[in-house]
């Protein structure tokens, strides 16, 4: 069975996440090194999972949780792949 959550709470949570997305985008554009940009991309993937979790509460559809699993898998693999590639490149040169 499902419970009713007031819409104002859901929209406030979405507003917090939107502000967080804006701030991490500032770091993504401005970051002095590539590693700062990788950290910002990692945070953006987590914010997108938060968006989807709250969206599933807004539309009362429980199938969106599968999307969260997939995004958390792909973001981890992407982060590790890029930073390992950079590390190998910097070591060899």
């Amino acid at each position: 069975m499902m419970h009713e959550v007031p819409e104002i709470v859901i929209y406030t949570g979405l507003a917090f996440l939107l502000l967080a997305l804006l701030l991490s985008f500032v770091r993504l554009v401005r970051g002095p090194s590539v590693n700062d940009r990788i950290a910002a991309m990692d945070l953006i993937a987590s914010i997108v999972t938060g968006f989807i979790i709250i969206y599933s509460m807004l539309w009362k559809s429980e199938f969106y949780i599968d999307v969260v699993i997939i995004i958390s898998l792909i973001s981890f693999i992407g982060t590790v792949a890029i930073s390992t590639y950079l590390r190998q490149k910097r070591k060899s040169s």
Binding site: H3, V5, L17, A20, L23, D42, M57, V68, V80, L86
Partner: protein, 100 residues
């Protein structure tokens, strides 16, 4: 009663992710930035997943949320470690260049 729990957990989780983003912008060092993002984001996602599993209240959602929580808490430190390792390699390379 559950409505209050779900609302509080939802607001706290999104507030934790917002705090992580503020830390990412405000700190002036890569290590401090990762200290802000890794831990606070994992905890915020944990709170959001508990909120969504209390909201739907079916066994499948509980199992999937537990899976995601375990996965996030296993992989967030690994990703931060890998980013820090590549940053250390860059610093080594720069100091070697300065010596030559």
């Amino acid at each position: 009663m559950t409505v209050y729990f779900v609302s509080i957990l939802l607001l706290l989780g999104s507030a934790f992710i917002l705090i992580a983003a503020i830390g990412l912008v405000k700190f002036n060092n890569l290590y401090s930035r990762m200290h802000a993002t890794t831990k606070a984001t994992s905890f915020g996602t944990l709170l959001l997943l508990i909120a969504v599993s209390l909201f739907f209240n079916t066994p499948a959602i509980y199992i999937k949320s537990l899976l995601v929580i375990i996965f996030i808490y296993l992989t967030a430190p690994l990703a931060a470690h890998s980013i820090a390792k590549s940053f250390i390699a860059k610093k080594d390379k720069d100091s070697k260049k300065q010596k030559d």
